[in-house]
């Protein structure tokens, strides 16, 4: 690995080199009968268009509107999330943690990229990046500033490092001014980052305006 590559891991020559290598590998594995390229297409389609943070947003909106569901979610999240049809790989053991005015939760995997796929989809690049993995457990308030907001200095912050197979998922606070909103409307306020704890739910004027 040259210094040039180290400084520019996404430059075009590197990508095309890797692209060729991946194409060659797929053809070798196909010819040897180890993979079915059609199965790869289904896997990609699943995570590009079916499994993503809209699933988690539905879970949060349900928790905001249905106290019995919220209680089930916070006491044993995996079956509660399963009620909405979300389950499986990288979501076998989910724990939901709730933000309050006194406590803000943030999720990281300092060892790589552990993330609750069934509710959030595949993790974004920044979640997997060295800066986030390094900084989240030592300076989470600094991370929040990188994301453009500051937490009240009196709010306690708890960082959940996903070092085993438990996958954490943050239930953000329901924004003020949303009384009477439907579950669908509320789901529009729930961002991916708010369910990782690097953001907050959107304010209602952001979606009604």
């Amino acid at each position: 690995m040259t210094d040039h590559h180290h400084d520019h891991p996404h430059d075009h020559s590197e990508l095309s080199e890797t692209d060729l290598r991946v194409r060659a590998l797929e053809s070798i594995l196909t010819e040897k009968g180890y993979i079915d390229p059609a199965a790869l297409d289904v896997l990609i389609e699943t995570y590009e268009s079916k499994v993503g943070p809209r699933n988690g947003a539905r879970v949060v909106a349900r928790a905001w509107t249905d106290p019995a569901f919220r209680s089930r979610l916070l006491s044993d999240a995996t079956p509660a999330i399963g009620e909405l049809g979300y389950a499986g790989r990288q979501g076998e053991h989910i724990v939901a943690v709730e933000n309050t005015p006194e406590l803000h939760n943030m999720v990281v995997c300092t060892l790589c990229s552990c993330y609750p796929w069934p509710v959030l989809g595949l993790p974004p690049v920044w979640y997997k990046s060295a800066p986030y993995r390094a900084k989240a457990v030592k300076d989470p308030r600094g991370v929040l500033k990188d994301f453009g907001f500051e937490l009240a200095p009196t709010t306690k912050i708890r960082v959940w490092d996903s070092t085993a197979e438990i996958r954490y998922f943050v239930v953000p606070m329901r924004p003020e001014g949303t009384d009477g909103w439907s579950e669908d409307q509320l789901a529009e306020l729930v961002t991916r980052d708010s369910m990782i704890g690097t953001g907050l739910a959107k304010q209602p004027e952001k979606v009604t305006g």
């Binding site: 690995m1 991946v22 797929e26 499986g88 030592k138 708890r158």
Partner: protein
């Protein structure tokens, strides 16, 4: 293993760069590398802990110089070569040069949904009482195994508190190296920020890790 992958608290990486409206994949090859990694586990027969070790166990400059899915790609190449499913000369030439090894099963398109839904639950039946109870003070062992572990360096030697007992789970330190699942009690252990980071104390910071019983001793 004390590798470059274990990044908690490391200095010098700079700020986090969020990317608005980030796509799921940034290049076509990332899609295929991701999907091949999931699909190859079936004929390859390795487990997730073996996959993680295959990605992590490489020189630091190599790990830090590669993008995320390049590391995944290097991981499956290593696992396939170890099992002689694909040989180094084939990877270099980009073509088949040796006969295929017989494999038990491959992932088909109509098997994907069931495979994803099934996932890989790691919880196992309880066979012995848990050593620790919620509220107990524990110290993360100052251990540095050359093999796979999921105890991050930044908590080693520090005292925390058992916050939750998560049941008995497959033990990655054993499972990554073919030693079997050797299930162990898993705990969520919380650490005060000032205990972990004497140089940057945030009195209101708390960090939790999920630690297997062999990682902990009574404090």
């Amino acid at each position: 293993m004390d590798g470059a992958h274990d990044m908690g608290g490391a200095a010098g990486f700079g700020p986090v760069h969020p990317e608005p409206n980030e796509p799921v994949f940034h290049a076509a090859w990332e899609r295929r590398a991701f999907a091949m990694t999931l699909a190859m586990a079936m004929p390859g027969g390795w487990n997730i802990d073996m996959s993680r070790f295959a990605r992590e166990n490489r020189p630091g400059a190599d790990y830090l110089g590669m993008s995320y899915y390049q590391i995944w790609l290097a991981g499956i190449e290593r696992l396939m070569q170890e099992r002689h499913l694909v040989e180094a000369d084939e990877l270099a030439a980009g073509k088949v040069m040796h006969p295929a090894k017989p494999v038990a099963k491959i992932l088909t398109a109509d098997g994907v949904a069931a495979m994803l839904h099934r996932g890989g639950p790691t919880e196992r039946p309880v066979t012995a009482p848990a050593l620790f109870a919620v509220g107990d003070r524990v110290r993360a062992k100052d251990m540095h195994p050359p093999t796979h572990t999921r105890l991050p360096r930044y908590v080693r030697g520090h005292v925390g508190r058992i916050d939750a007992i998560r049941g008995v789970h497959v033990f990655p330190d054993s499972n990554a190296h073919g030693g079997g699942e050797a299930p162990q009690w898993l705990y969520t252990v919380s650490f005060n920020g000032a205990e972990l980071w004497a140089d940057a104390p945030d009195p209101l910071l708390e960090v939790t890790v999920d630690a297997f019983e062999p990682y902990l001793e009574r404090a």
